[in-house]
Amino acid sequence: NAGVTQTPKFRILKIGQSMTLQCTQDMNHNYMYWYRQDPGMGLKLIYYSVGAGITDKGEVPNGYNVSRSTTEDFPLRLELAAPSQTSVYFCASWTGVNSPLHFGNGTRLTVT
């Protein structure tokens, strides 16, 4: 099984550009999450989804949007990139029963 797959692995954006970070899982998990990781800050929750068609804000949602049209995919959209969005982004999924979060390998984004 591939688990949670994130693309791209790396990306450099100019200020004001937009992009979509892709996340796909093949485990049929209902719950999916986007976290950002900044040095010395741990991970912070951006958005999450409890199933197709349902999304909600996490701790740091400003500057981001998400959609969940299928169980498998949970893309994260940056509309107007800012230097403060330079970070490593992790997507995760969860079954909702007695199992851990499954993380992807991350997308390293630099905004200059």
């Binding site: 949670v4 010395g40 741990g42 996490g58």
Partner: protein
């Protein structure tokens, strides 16, 4: 709101020595605690979790942690570390049992030297 503090940002240790990574959390009526490990250029993997029951929790790779409600701590320990334990370790808390909405600590970088 929940919060988590990892008291050490970096912990250097020699191979085969014991190690303790410290974690304190803000008090709450019910709390669920986790330790995750992140190897270089990878996502996070669950080491262990405390949901209820025994306060001593055993995880993978020989790690264990003790939930101490009176001190609001959940320190991670290993009696003898290996070079391959070099990684970043994150303590996390949730107010939902087994939930994915986690509040993470700042992380502790464990560096095991030969």
């Amino acid at each position: 709101a929940q919060s988590v503090t990892q008291l050490d940002s970096q912990v250097p240790v020699f191979e085969e020595a014991p190690v303790e990574l410290r974690c304190n959390y803000s008090s709450s009526v019910s709390v669920y605690l986790f330790w995750y490990v992140q190897y270089p250029n990878q996502g996070l993997q669950l080491l262990l979790k405390y949901l209820s029951g025994s306060t001593l929790v055993k995880g993978i790779n020989g790690f264990e942690a003790e939930f101490n409600k009176s001190q609001t701590s959940f320190h991670l320990r290993k009696p003898s570390v290996h070079i391959s334990d070099t990684a970043e370790y994150f303590c996390a808390v949730s107010d939902e049992a087994q939930g994915g909405k986690l509040i993470f600590g700042q992380g502790t970088e464990l560096s095991v030297k030969p």
